[in-house]
């Protein structure tokens, strides 16, 4: 009998709100199955189970905020007898009792008639991100009705992601980055990479492709970095309990900027071994789920290095902050033509500025330089990536 607990989905997570159960009593689950959805400061995250078995009972109700480690459900191992008092009889459970994805109650104080408002108004306010305490009610007794919320929320952009609280996300980013700067002795290395070969190759490749088969320069960056991280020691892994734990697979965290502010860096598992087109598909999927859908708990916690790419219309470079417990982050600036000396003559070449921030507890400049040079070398032969 195992207890399925609220997982920690990042160093600074203290609690999560359970918003959906995807399994019910009697369901068979396998290690890695997504069984529930938890709302965190970084949005809704799908959480996976880490054992095989049968759901014996569900302990946590929807809509409740629970600390990390709180019991959510009891899982019975294969062949294990059901807990006597809790013998699940799926057939006899009335349909209404089955746990269904129910939207969590709006996060608005309802106690003591503090802010009287109609249920429709509350629901709409939560959807629009309108704070009811700042709305004047026109209903009976000054209660807030739907129309009041609509007019208060006029012209307001929908929240960046369902259930995403931008203030909470900012606080989470601040806490993680403060911890990083406090604990990790960062060192930084910069390098300019001649990207002409990669740019030419990519343009030629994409010109013959339907849009669905095109690849972005960002994918080449992720692949080259992942391969280099697999080859050079001290960059790929996590620093846990006072020691560096190197990782064999490179789980490449990809920084995704959210409109309206905020940043998420979910990981692509084993990025170094994915062929380019597969890696591109993984990135498309990851970005789409970061924007609108859902990320998985493991994607939030299992990253071993992060890559931040400033895109096509950005600036030359960025000195990034390591995302703990990782030990390195690589930032690629916006590629642009620049004067470069080739064979003794100045010529215009497509170039990209790369900055490494790495952890001095694990490596030093020489190692970091080797790593950046390796990325450079790999990008000179894009067809081999």
């Amino acid at each position: 009998m195992g207890v399925f607990k609220m997982p920690s989905l990042g160093a600074d997570m203290e609690e999560g709100k359970l918003v959906e159960w995807l399994v019910g009593p009697g369901d068979t689950v396998k290690r890695g199955d997504v069984v529930a959805v938890v709302e965190t400061q970084k949005g809704a995250i799908e959480i996976e189970i880490f054992e095989d078995g049968v759901v014996d009972r569900i302990d946590a109700a929807l809509g409740t905020s629970l600390p990390v480690g709180a019991p959510l459900a009891v899982i019975r191992g294969d062949g294990e007898a059901a807990a006597p008092a809790m013998a699940p009889e799926p057939e006899s459970v009335p349909a209404a009792q089955l746990v269904k994805p129910i939207p969590a109650p709006p996060p608005v104080a309802a106690e003591a008639g503090e802010t009287p408002a109609s249920p429709a108004a509350r629901a709409r306010a939560a959807e629009l991100g309108v704070d009811l305490s700042g709305v004047t009610g026109s209903g009976p007794g000054g209660a807030i009705v739907l129309a009041d919320v609509e007019s208060a929320g006029k012209g307001r952009r929908k929240p960046a992601k369902q259930g995403l609280d931008m203030d909470a996300m900012r606080a989470a980013i601040a806490a993680a980055m403060t911890r990083s700067k406090h604990e990790i002795p960062h060192y930084y290395l910069e390098h300019e990479i001649d990207l002409q070969a990669a740019d030419d190759w990519l343009r030629a490749r994409n010109a013959d492709c339907a849009p669905g088969d095109r690849i972005l320069m960002g994918t080449l960056f992720v692949k080259a970095t992942a391969l280099a991280a697999a080859n050079v020691k001290g960059m790929n892994g996590q620093y846990v309990d006072g020691a560096f734990q190197p990782s064999k697979p490179v789980n490449a965290g990809v920084a995704v900027a959210l409109r309206g502010g905020g940043l998420i860096a979910p990981a692509i598992m084993d990025a170094a071994s994915q062929p380019l087109d597969q890696l591109m598909a993984s990135m498309r999927d990851l970005v789409a789920r970061a924007r609108s859908g859902r990320l998985r708990g493991s994607e939030m916690t299992d990253g071993t290095i992060t890559i931040s790419s400033l895109g096509e219309n950005g600036v030359d470079g960025m000195t990034a902050v390591i995302y703990p417990p990782q030990v390195a982050i690589v930032a690629f600036g916006t590629p642009r033509p620049a004067p470069r000396v080739v064979d003794g003559a100045v010529t215009a070449r497509m170039c990209v500025h790369v900055t490494l921030a790495a952890d001095h507890r694990v490596s030093d400049g020489r190692r970091g330089a080797k790593f950046l040079k390796e990325i450079d070398t790999l990008l000179q032969n894009p067809e081999d990536l």
Binding site: G155, R157, A207, A210, P211, L216, G260, S292, N313
Partner: protein, 81 residues
């Protein structure tokens, strides 16, 4: 296909690629990247969706011609015409 149909199709795919953007808030001259904050992955997803919906394969060198709603309607009408 009328220009209104093209506009509706473009907005539909834009808001599906960027679900946090409201079609009603998109100005005709808003730049997809600078004003609406689409990144290169979003642009590629939009181009892919337009290819599937309208059958128009937009090459990379034409991305600039769909950088605003107004420009995109003109460009797509030309390609469909």
């Amino acid at each position: 296909m009328t220009k209104d149909d093209i506009k509706a199709a473009f907005l539909k795919e834009l808001t599906s690629v960027a679900p946090d953007i409201d079609a009603a808030d998109v100005g005709g001259d808003d730049q997809l990247q600078d004003d609406l904050e689409l990144d290169s992955m979003d642009i590629l997803n939009l181009v892919t969706a337009l290819h599937e919906r309208l059958g128009v394969n937009i090459p990379e060198e034409d991305y600039r011609r769909i950088e605003t709603l107004n420009k995109a309607v003109v460009y797509l009408a030309e390609r469909l015409g």
